[in-house]
Symmetry: C2
Subunit: 508 residues, 2 copies
C-alpha cells in the first residue's frame, strides 16, 4: 500500500486542484479564441476571460488558500513546518509557497493597472507595427518600463533589477549567470556565422515554390501521427500563430499555420508544438493540479519544443525516414531533389531580420540582442527613444545586417507590449538546455540516429519522459540539468552541436 | 438621454451578468465536448463542468445574491418593493425572483443526490437501450420517479403533481390546460392520419440513396448562409446529435450531422438549429445577462426552430428557390426529379417508431404518448414495470403500429434517465405556438410565399425579432401569444395548417 500524505498536504492539494481546474477552463477560452471562435465574439470572450482570471486570482490570494499553505510552510521564509512530507511533497510545498510569496508582492491595484496598461499597449503596438511607427508605441513602452521597474523593486533582487524579471520565467537564472553563458555563446555564434559566410551558400529555392495547402495539412498530420502522441488526448488545428495549450495531460492541443510559400514552416511548427505537447502529456496525471504536474520553467518547456523541432526535426536521421513521404506528397516539386540537398536546404543559415524565422545558428543572436537591450532599458542605460537606433546597431554588430523599418526591427515582437520583460532569454536557454540534455541522451543511445532513421521515435520520448516530464517541478532547472548531465548549464554542448553540424553542411 | 435604472436594479444586473458570464463559459465546455474535444479528455472535462456548475449554483444561492434581489422584491411572495422600475425592469425582477424562489425549494443535498442518480442512470440507460433491455433501466427509473415525486411536493402545485414539473420548462402550462389543448389535437391528428392512409402513398426512395458527405456539408452551409445570420457571430460544425448553443448574441453556434443515406436530415437539422440560433442572436445585447435577454421558455424556443425547419423549411415556397441548388449539387440523383415530386417526398407522412424521425403529422402524437405516460407515472396510475406494455398499446392506439423492441419503444429517448419529466410537451407546444404565430405573420405578410420563393428570408426573421426575440422574458408565453395573435394558445392554427397542407399533398 502506498503511504498516505499528511492531511494538511491533501487539503492544500484539493484546493490547488480546484484552482488548476479553473485555470484549465481559462485555457479552453484562449484555445477557442485562437481557433474556432466567431471573430465577432471577441468582446464577450474578453469579458469571460477577465472574469475568470479575476476569480482565479481571488482564489489564489484568498485567506483560505493562504492558511492552507501556512499549515505546511511559512510563506515569508519558505521554511517547511509540516512533519512527515516525502521529498516530492516537500518540493510541491516549496513551489506552492514560492508562488504565493511572489503573488503577494504585487498589490491587486498594481496588477489591475498593469493589466489595463498592457492590454491597451498591445493594441497600440499592433497599429504601430502595421504602420512601422515606433513613436506611436514609445509612450506606452515608457509607461510599461516605469511600472516594470516598480515591479522589480516590489519583487526585490540582489544584484540587478533584471534578475527579478528573469525569475518570473526561469527562477534559477540571474543576469550575471546569463552573461557568463551568453558571452562565449555570442562569440562562438559570430565566429561560426563568419565561417559560413566564407562558404558557398546553399540553394534552397525549391523549398519556396507554391505548395497546395491541403497537402501541406495532410503532411503535417502525418508527421504528427508518427510521433508517440496518443490521438485520444490531443488534436491539431490551424491558427494565425502556432501554439500549444494543455488543459490536462489528457487534453493537449496544438496548432500550426500554412504558408502558401515555404511548406517547411508548417512542418517545423508541428514538431515544435508537439514537443511542448509531449511535455504536458508526460506530466504525472495523478499529481495533476499540483506543482509536481507542472513544467519546470519556460526554458525547460522550450527545450522540449526545440528538441523535436531542431535536434530531431532538422537531423538527417529523421528525414532519412520521412523525406520519401514529403517527396510522395509533392512529386512534381521534390521528386528529383535528393535527400542530401533537401537536408542542406532546410538547414540553410542566412541572417535575417525576423527572430521567429531564424535558423539554428542565428536564432540565439536574435535573443542575445533582445536580452542586452531590455536589460539596458530596465537599468536605465538605454532610453526608450534611443531603442530603434540601438536595435539597428546591435543587428549590425551581431548579424551584420540592418533593418530598414522598425516593423522588421524593434517592433517585431509582441512581448514588450505585454510587459513580458525577462521572457526572451528563455528562448535561447531552451536551445542550450536541449543540446546539453541531448548530449546525455546520445551517449545513452549511441544508435539513436539508426533508430530514428527507421521512424522509431517512442524511445526518444520515453527518455525525455523518464528524465524530465515525470518529475514536474520536483527539481528546478539547475538541479535537473545536473542530475541528467552531471554539469551546470553552459553553452558548450550547443556550440559543439552547431559546430559539428554546420561545418559538415558548410564545407569551406 | 435614457433614464437611469434604480441603483438596486443596476447592482442586481451586475451580479446577474457575472453569473451569466460563468454560465456562458459552461456552455463553451459543453460545446467543445460535443465537437472538438479529444475523446480521452472526458474525465477532466467532467471535472471542469462539475466544478463550474457547482460554483454557479453557489453564486445563485449565495446570501449576497439573495440580498440584492430582496432589495427589489420579496422572494417569498414575489411582491415588488422597489420604486421607479420601468415595466421591463419589473418583468426582469419578477423572473429573477421566480428563479431564486424555485431554486430555494430544493436543498443542496437533494440537488446533489438527484444529479448523482441521473448521472448514473443515464449511463445505464445507454446500455439498456443498446441491449434493448428495459429491466436493466427499470430500477433506476423507479428511483428517479420517487425523487421526482418528492420534487413535485417540494416545488408545490395546485391540481396535479405533474404541473410542478411542467413549470420547470413552460411556466404558463398546467396538466389541465395541456389536456384541453392536446385532446382536440390528438383527435384531429388521428383523423388526418387515417385520411392519409386512405390515399396513395408517396414514393420518396430517391431521397434515400447514398449522398456524398462533403457535398452534403457544402449544401447545408449554403442553406445556412442564405439565412439572415451574421457569420461573424456564428458557426456550424458536426456532432453526433445536432444542437444549438449560444454563449451570447454574438457567439451562437450550431451543429448538424451527416447521414450517408437520407441527405435531408442534415438540411432540416441546419434549419432547425439555425432557428434556435436566430432567437438567441435576436435577444437584446444591451440586456445580456438579465432575463430580458433570455428566451421565454423551451416551448417558445422550439417554436423558433420548428418555424424555420417546418413552416419555412418544408414549404414549397422555400424550395422553389433552393431546390435548383440541391439539384445542381446532386445532378445524377435529382437532376430529373421535378420540384413538385421533391416537395411531396420531403413531406411524406408515414407513422414510425422514432420521435426524432417523425413527420409533421405524426410528430405531436409521439409527444402526446409521452405526456400521457409520464403524467400517469408521476400520479402513480402507471407502474414502472408496466411501462413497456403501456408504450406498445399507446403506439398502436395513436399511430397504428407496435414496436418490436424497447429500444424502438420506451427506451428511445434520453430524457427520463436525466430526470427530465415534463419536458416532452414543450416539443408539441413549440409546433402549436409556431403555427399560431405564423397565422399572424402570414396575415401581415400576405405575399410571404412570393418573397420566400425569391430567397428573401430577412423579412421573416425581422418579424420574429420584433414580435418575439427582442422582448426576452418580458412577456411570458401566454402574454406573448395573446399580444401577437389576439388569442390564447390552442391547436386550431396547427390543425388548420396541417389540414390545408396535407390534403393538398395527399389528394384522396
Amino acid at each position: 500500500m502506498a503511504r498516505k500524505a499528511p492531511q494538511a498536504y491533501l487539503d492544500l492539494k484539493e484546493a490547488s486542484v480546484e484552482i488548476q481546474t479553473f485555470n484549465s477552463i481559462l485555457s479552453l477560452l484562449h484555445w477557442d479564441q485562437e481557433t474556432f471562435m466567431p471573430q465577432g465574439a471577441i468582446v464577450p470572450r474578453s469579458e469571460q476571460i477577465a472574469l475568470l482570471s479575476g476569480y482565479i486570482h481571488e482564489l489564489k490570494t484568498s485567506r483560505k488558500y493562504k492558511s492552507l499553505i501556512e499549515k505546511l510552510a511559512s510563506i515569508s521564509t519558505g521554511r517547511i513546518k509540516a512533519k512527515g512530507l516525502s521529498a516530492r511533497e516537500k518540493a510541491a510545498v516549496r513551489e506552492w509557497t514560492n508562488e504565493i510569496f511572489r503573488l503577494q508582492k504585487l498589490s491587486p491595484k498594481f496588477v489591475k493597472q498593469f493589466s489595463q496598461l498592457t492590454s491597451e499597449a498591445s493594441q497600440i503596438w499592433q497599429s504601430a507595427k502595421k504602420e512601422s511607427n515606433f513613436k506611436l508605441f514609445a509612450p506606452f513602452l515608457k509607461r510599461i518600463l516605469d511600472m516594470t521597474r516598480e515591479k522589480t523593486s516590489l519583487y526585490g533582487y540582489e544584484e540587478h533589477p533584471y534578475d527579478a524579471l528573469l525569475g518570473c520565467y526561469e527562477p534559477c537564472m540571474t543576469s550575471a549567470k546569463l552573461q557568463k553563458i551568453f558571452t562565449p555563446l555570442k562569440k562562438e555564434l559570430i565566429r561560426l556565422l563568419d565561417q559560413i559566410r566564407g562558404s558557398k551558400q546553399i540553394d534552397d529555392r525549391f523549398l519556396h515554390g507554391s505548395f497546395d495547402a491541403k497537402k501541406q495539412i495532410a503532411l503535417g498530420e502525418s508527421l504528427l501521427s508518427a510521433l508517440p502522441i496518443d490521438p485520444a488526448y490531443s488534436r491539431l488545428d490551424l491558427s494565425a500563430h502556432p501554439f500549444s495549450i494543455a488543459m490536462h495531460p489528457h487534453d493537449s492541443r496544438i496548432t500550426t499555420r500554412i504558408l502558401p510559400k515555404g511548406f517547411m514552416s508548417n512542418l517545423f511548427s508541428v514538431l515544435h508544438e508537439a514537443g511542448h505537447s509531449m511535455y504536458e502529456m508526460g506530466l504525472p496525471t495523478e499529481q495533476w493540479g499540483t506543482p509536481l504536474a507542472e513544467a519546470v520553467s519556460l526554458s525547460i518547456h522550450e527545450s522540449q519544443s526545440r528538441w523535436w523541432e531542431t535536434l530531431i526535426g532538422r537531423s538527417s536521421a529523421y528525414w532519412r525516414h520521412f523525406y520519401p513521404l514529403v517527396q510522395k506528397t509533392f512529386p512534381g516539386k521534390l521528386g528529383k531533389v535528393p535527400l542530401d540537398r533537401f537536408y542542406r536546404a532546410i538547414n540553410k543559415v542566412s541572417p535575417g531580420f525576423i527572430r521567429v524565422e531564424a535558423d539554428e545558428v542565428t536564432y540565439c543572436l536574435h535573443v542575445i540582442l533582445r536580452f542586452e537591450i531590455e536589460s539596458a532599458l530596465i537599468s536605465g542605460d538605454l532610453q526608450v527613444y534611443d531603442l530603434p537606433e540601438a536595435w539597428r546597431s546591435k543587428m549590425k554588430e551581431l548579424l551584420g545586417i540592418t533593418p530598414k523599418t522598425d516593423r522588421e526591427g524593434c517592433l517585431q515582437d509582441v512581448h514588450w507590449s505585454l510587459g513580458d520583460f525577462g521572457y526572451f532569454p528563455t528562448y535561447a536557454l531552451g536551445n542550450l538546455f536541449a543540446a546539453q540534455f541531448f548530449s546525455a541522451f546520445s551517449k545513452e543511445h549511441r544508435d539513436w540516429e539508426e533508430r530514428v532513421s527507421k521512424g522509431d521515435l517512442a524511445f526518444v520520448r520515453d527518455w525525455l519522459k523518464v528524465q524530465i516530464h515525470s518529475h514536474g517541478k520536483q527539481y528546478n532547472s539547475e538541479e535537473l540539468v545536473k542530475r541528467i548531465t552531471g554539469k551546470p548549464l553552459s553553452a558548450d554542448a550547443y556550440c559543439r552541436y552547431l559546430k559539428a553540424k554546420y561545418s559538415e553542411i558548410y564545407t569551406p
